[in-house]
């Protein structure tokens, strides 16, 4: 289990670096556009479109990480109060549900990329293959991180991340 957790941590680290680079590029483009338009009087035609695609990458990659660090908003008032084995089963069902949704994102995301990825972007000579894959890749990461939580729940409870609200209440 430790090796699997280390692998997940490595993936999380790589996704973090990628997402930070994407977000930094997003910031740089929007900020420089304000400067070039208001100070220099011109803008590139793609400065409205490309930040949107970067935002989509940032959102889907970070959303997958939020599954791992349990940052997604949940109504976990009752969920955390179910004791013992019943509680473990409920938590397992929740993870299985998340994995199922991740599978939909992967399975049908890939189909969507195959069907429509070759369509062109609006203002730049690239195809949508550059941003559509954000969704199936996010789905795969969601499966990985929810799978990690499910396995940790049964085999290595000490390695599980606590939901943010419970960590707060516990203190």
């Amino acid at each position: 289990m430790r090796a699997f957790n280390q692998f997940c941590d490595l993936v999380r680290g790589l996704v973090r670096v990628f997402t930070l680079l994407v977000t930094a590029a997003l910031f740089a483009i929007v900020i420089s556009t304000v400067f070039t338009r208001d100070v220099l009087g011109w803008v590139y035609s793609w400065t409205e479109e490309v930040p949107r695609y970067l935002l989509i990458w940032m959102a889907f990659m970070s959303a997958a990480i939020c599954v791992d660090v349990k940052d997604h908003i949940a109504f976990d008032y009752f969920y955390q109060r179910v004791p013992g084995l019943a509680g473990k089963l409920v938590k397992s069902l929740v993870n299985i549900g998340i994995i199922g949704f991740g599978w939909i994102m992967v399975r049908y995301g890939v189909e969507f990329v195959q069907d429509f990825g070759a369509d062109g972007m609006e203002s730049i000579p690239f195809t949508n293959i550059w941003y559509y894959p954000a969704l199936p890749i996010s789905g795969a990461l969601i499966i990985l991180f929810a799978g990690r939580d499910l396995l940790n729940l049964w085999f290595a409870p000490e390695l599980r991340t606590q939901p943010a609200s419970i960590a707060l209440e516990a203190e």
Partner: protein, 436 residues
């Protein structure tokens, strides 16, 4: 039938503790599947359409404003702005009875104009003020309760992520109008809490803070103004037409970097990745919710549910004031159980057609919805700000109910005023041409 599956699955998953974004997504996927299984109509929403709507649901330039405002709030909170605003607030109200409680409220009012987040307010102002008030002899539950109550100004006074979300969800409402619409209601909440702190101070805690020299007062005000200038950039930039909301957020982010890194020198280059990462995660939670809810909304709209609800509610009453009262009660109830962002994303498409039919101004509606759901952040059993406040003060939730009750009543009175006197939220946007 389809709606029963959609709502039934969502509610079951919600109470199981499934993250709301996934509960909505799974309910929508199962409802989509039901079209082909039960109704032999596979073309309404298959799973490829589901992922397409998720992608297109967040493919929007105005949504970029969210990450810029989140980043600005995060860096301001980390960069020493909160401390300076507390010192500035001491100059403004510290000499009134109940000095520290007054400072607490005033600091939140000022910080609300910087962070746009109630949680950021509780964690930064709360950390300082609860400790200081307890040391000064205030009961810890009272100190925590007033911190939480005053933190509700964060998402109401601009910049406000909730207002940007409402504008995006409603479609044809001016972001600038909504941001300006929140100014007076936010200030009224602050003023009402200052009055409450004054009365409480006169009765139980008349201590005032020490007298400051004129030079010290000027220094504190100038230092505090540094943080508040971000608010000026955003409001002047948007109302003058110089920036869109997204660009105003970007400029405010650059200003926040300049202020905290070069002027205050409390944020270093090494801190930036963690602040940016924190902003990414916060923003992703919002955007992923929008992505999955766009599928949910598609089905709800396909089934004409908003029109059905509108027709049924209008059969009960077509008086817009009664309707506004009912909307308030519904939102307060929902806010007790569901966080502000998902509640907003799910309820705006449902309430909007109803409000439009009765001629309710959408800026007015947006302000009312944001205020209600912001109150939900501090009401039990589920409230993000409430959890953070309990953690900082190391108190159980139950200890806060009694001291918070009078404050909630005062805030409810303000909500009623904002609801039944539309000019409070509409006058300022109308002056700038952002509301009819």
């Amino acid at each position: 039938m389809i709606i029963s599956i959609l709502v039934g699955v969502f509610v079951v998953l919600l109470f199981m503790g499934m993250p709301i974004a996934f509960a909505i997504g799974i309910a929508a996927a199962l409802a989509g599947l039901s079209y082909s299984v039960f109704l032999d109509n596979p073309f309404v929403i298959d799973n490829v359409t589901l992922v397409q709507r998720m992608l297109f649901g967040i493919n929007s330039f105005p949504l970029l404003a969210v990450i810029f405002f989140v980043f600005t709030g995060a860096i301001m909170a980390r960069g020493g702005v909160a401390e300076r605003l507390v010192k500035m607030a001491e100059v403004m109200v510290g000499r009134l009875p109940g000095g520290l409680a007054q400072i607490n409220v005033m600091s939140s009012m000022l910080f609300g104009g910087v962070s746009g987040s109630a949680v950021a307010d509780v964690s930064s102002i709360g950390r300082m003020m609860i400790k200081a008030m307890t040391a000064d002899g205030y009961a810890k539950p009272f100190a925590t309760a007033i911190t939480l109550a005053s933190a509700t100004m964060g998402p109401i006074i601009p910049p406000s992520i909730a207002m940007i979300l409402f504008a995006y969800l409603a479609g044809n409402v001016s972001v600038a109008g909504l941001l300006l619409g929140g100014v007076f209601p936010g200030l009224m909440i602050g003023a009402s809490l200052l009055v409450y702190a004054y009365i409480h101070g006169r009765l139980y805690h008349p201590t005032k803070t020490p007298i400051l020299t004129l030079g010290e007062k000027v220094r504190r005000i100038l230092e505090g103004m540094g943080g508040l200038f971000a608010l000026v950039i955003i409001l002047v930039g948007i109302t003058s037409g110089a920036f869109t909301a997204t660009e105003a957020g970007a400029v405010a982010a650059v200003y926040a970097l300049f202020l905290t890194m070069l002027v205050y020198r409390q944020v270093g280059l090494r801190d930036l990745p963690s602040i940016l990462w924190e902003s990414c995660l916060t923003t992703a939670v919002v955007l992923f919710l929008i992505a999955t809810t766009s599928v949910f909304t598609y089905i709800v709209t396909y089934e004409n549910i908003p029109d059905w609800i509108a027709a049924n509610v209008l059969a009960i009453t077509d008086n817009k004031w009664v309707l506004l009262l009912l909307i308030n009660l519904l939102l307060l109830l929902v806010g007790m159980f569901i966080d502000q962002t998902p509640a907003l994303i799910m309820l705006v498409p449902i309430i909007l057609p109803l409000a439009s039919q009765l001629g309710i101004n959408l800026v007015h509606l947006g302000v009312i919805m944001v205020i209600n759901l912001t109150y939900g952040l501090i009401t039990p059993p589920v409230g993000t700000s409430l959890f953070v406040g309990c953690r900082i003060a190391n108190l159980p939730m139950t200890a806060l109910i009694l001291p918070m009750l009078p404050m909630l009543l005062v805030m409810f009175a303000v909500l009623m005023l904002v609801t039944f006197v539309p000019a409070i939220s509409l006058w300022l946007p109308q002056q700038f041409g952002f509301a009819s």
